[in-house]
């Protein structure tokens, strides 16, 4: 190389030229192309908010071309026909009748399973130290609203229930009762009307005690009666409305049943069934007395139960 060029090459060698330029991290934003895009370009409603736009009569590929979903010829293509019309002949729904009718007396209850109650207790949303009524279940959002006739306790996930709870509901299934009592808790079923459900949720009615449920222990004397009456008056002051008791036979028999853990089962005599009409066999006046008195006068030494009449 000629000397001048050598000098130049040495001068250029002094300037370090790296193939890869290292850059301090705080300068990285300068390298990247930064575009300021707002979130406005990403906004969209949920999928269910959008519906397929159907424009009929716009070609075969749309699926609604040519006849535009009306079929071929006839009154329906050119105009309209009333629904259920049979051309003037008696319509089918008059000839055969419409199926069923609206049942006004069905009981509508909000179901609640044991696994959800345990989950709520674990999360600290239900207090197991206090009685759990429909008010607590609704306010903790264990059930969303309460149906007309209250809450029914069911036993899905019953093996998960480990906390003893004191629960008061409208109805409870046999397996739910067994599971709660196995865990050391108690189930009580009591009667609620739709008016009662509303007032209980508003805090204007006692959720547990009604006239027939409350047992006021007092002496069988004038003073005792006065004490009981005073206690009742005090109770009346607490809430604006009084929790009703059932009046229909069906409801009364349900809540008198010990098997249902009904709150009126204490009114049923020992050994008797809950029915208001049918007497429990073996508890009537005839079964005991007459057999005993005529035991000796039988012929052939036959047993009492051998009698035809």
């Amino acid at each position: 190389m000629p000397p001048r060029l050598q000098l130049l090459s040495r001068a250029s060698a002094a300037v370090t030229t790296h193939s890869h330029q290292t850059l301090a991290p705080f300068l990285y934003p300068c390298l990247q192309q930064h575009r300021n895009a707002s979130i406005l370009s990403e906004l969209s409603d949920n999928k269910g908010a959008y519906n397929k736009r159907i424009r009929v009569g716009r070609g075969p590929s749309s699926g609604y071309g040519k006849t535009s979903g009306r079929g071929h010829k006839g009154q329906k293509q050119h105009g309209k026909v009333p629904a259920g019309f049979n051309g003037g002949q008696t319509p089918d729904w008059i000839v055969n009748g419409v199926r069923g009718e609206k049942q006004h007396f069905t009981t509508e209850m909000s179901p609640i399973n044991l696994n959800k109650i345990q989950y709520w207790i674990n999360a600290g949303r239900l207090d197991p130290t206090q009685p759990i009524t429909l008010k607590e279940l609704a306010s903790s959002r264990c059930i969303h609203g309460v149906a007309r006739d209250g809450v029914k306790l069911l036993s899905r996930g019953s093996e998960e229930l480990t906390t003893p709870i004191n629960i008061i509901v409208s109805r409870a299934s046999a397996s739910a009762i067994a599971a709660v009592e196995k865990a050391g808790g108690t189930v009580t079923t009591r009667y609620y009307t739709d008016f009662a459900v509303k007032k209980i949720r508003a805090g204007q009615m006692d959720p547990i005690h009604s006239l027939q449920s409350r047992i006021i222990m007092a002496e069988d004397s004038v003073e005792g009666a006065e004490i009981a009456a005073d206690a009742l008056v005090e109770e009346r002051k607490r809430f604006r409305f009084r929790l009703p008791d059932p009046t229909s036979r069906k409801d009364l028999e349900y809540y008198r049943d010990e098997g249902h853990r009904g709150y009126l089962s204490h009114l049923v005599r020992e050994g008797h069934g809950p029915s208001l009409f049918f007497r429990t066999p073996g508890t009537g006046s005839r079964s005991g007395k007459k057999g005993a008195s005529r035991g000796g006068a039988k012929k052939g030494g036959a047993a009492e139960s051998n009698r035809l009449w």
Binding site: L40, T129, S305
Partner: protein, 333 residues
């Protein structure tokens, strides 16, 4: 379908039904007659007959397959939990927002606001609904066309119905013809839609929360106003201030939200090419779209609190800003 029926075994049909009545031994009599000689009397035969039956059992259950629930058994109860600590509300958080001086942007103090106002979870669908609602409401809706009845012209039939060899035509205003009316064209109308106030308020606070979480919500303690700056130099002053603080066009632009009109600031931003750097709005003129549009939002503290109070209709009385602040003061005491 018939083949499927054939495959099912006929066992169920051939064997006796599963539901069997209990053998009722009560009231049944087996009259067993011994072989007696014909000479014995009927009475004697009757007397000798063995009337055998078992003791009666009361019919308590006529459906033996249904098991009644087990009676209450006195089992030793496990101890109930005696204490209960209700779950603390996981949504009861507080957001801390630093407030700065203007125009130095020096941090002065910080303010706390409830999580319901500045820590709302992201809801893009609600933001979308609010932005579309505002857009619909903003539409002018003045597009207009003339129908065939409105086009200027006579109603005379152009050519005879038959005989010309061409298509039949009525007046010359038909949409088929050039110069005719529009068949189904636009007419001036109101495009506004409705959105429940509570959803709109939630969208407002969701937008503010989004900006806060992104670090794009900047609070200024006092007024956002250019003081002590001559009106001729105000635009350049503001431009320099924005560039210095990385708030200008190169950084996505800034929206200034003020409680009232700030003459100097607004005038400075009306200057040439200042619109591409920043925008200023009074708080009453702000929309959800404005909150989301630009790179950041610089808001006066009073304006921010005005926005909170104006848009908290979806919250209960206990959760509103004023009640929350009172609660906080009570807790501190």
């Amino acid at each position: 379908m018939a083949a499927k029926r054939l495959k099912t075994s006929a066992d169920g049909l051939l064997t006796a039904s599963r539901y069997t009545l209990p053998t009722r031994q009560c009231f049944s009599r087996y009259l067993t007659t011994e072989t007696t000689s014909p000479t014995t009397t009927i009475a004697q035969a009757y007397a000798d007959a063995q009337l055998a039956s078992s003791s009666t059992t009361p019919i308590l259950h006529d459906r033996p397959n249904i098991q009644p629930p087990p009676p209450r058994v006195a089992t030793p109860k496990p101890t109930r939990p005696t204490t209960f600590t209700p779950q603390s509300n996981p949504f009861a958080k507080t957001a801390t927002l630093t407030s700065h001086a203007f125009p130095s942007m020096e941090p002065l103090t910080h303010a706390t606001y409830p999580g319901t106002h500045l820590l709302c979870p992201m809801r893009k669908d609600i933001l979308h609904r609010a932005v579309i609602y505002e857009g619909d409401m903003t539409r002018q809706g003045t597009a207009s066309t003339k129908y065939r009845s409105e086009v200027h012209g006579s109603n005379r039939k152009i050519r005879p119905q038959k005989g010309t060899g061409s298509a039949r035509l009525g007046d010359k205003k038909s949409p088929m013809l050039k110069g005719g009316g529009v068949a189904f064209g636009p007419k001036p109308r109101d495009f506004s839609t409705k959105l429940p106030r509570k959803i709109y308020d939630l969208a407002w606070r969701t937008a503010l929360s989004y900006r806060y979480k992104q670090g794009e919500l900047i609070c200024v303690e006092d007024m956002i106003e250019l003081e002590g700056v001559h009106e001729h130099s105000a635009p350049r002053y503001l431009l320099d201030m924005l560039r210095h603080n990385n708030m200008g066009h190169a950084n996505g632009r800034t929206l200034f939200i003020t409680l009232e009109e700030r003459p100097a600031l607004f005038e400075a931003l009306e200057a040439e090419r200042m619109g591409r750097e920043a925008k200023a709005l009074e708080v009453v003129d702000v929309d959800v779209k404005d909150l989301l549009e630009l790179g950041r939002v610089v808001v006066e503290r009073e304006a921010l609190e005005w926005m909170f109070v104006e848009h908290e209709d979806d919250l209960g009385p206990k959760d509103k800003l004023v009640s929350w602040e009172r609660n906080q003061e009570a807790l501190l005491k």
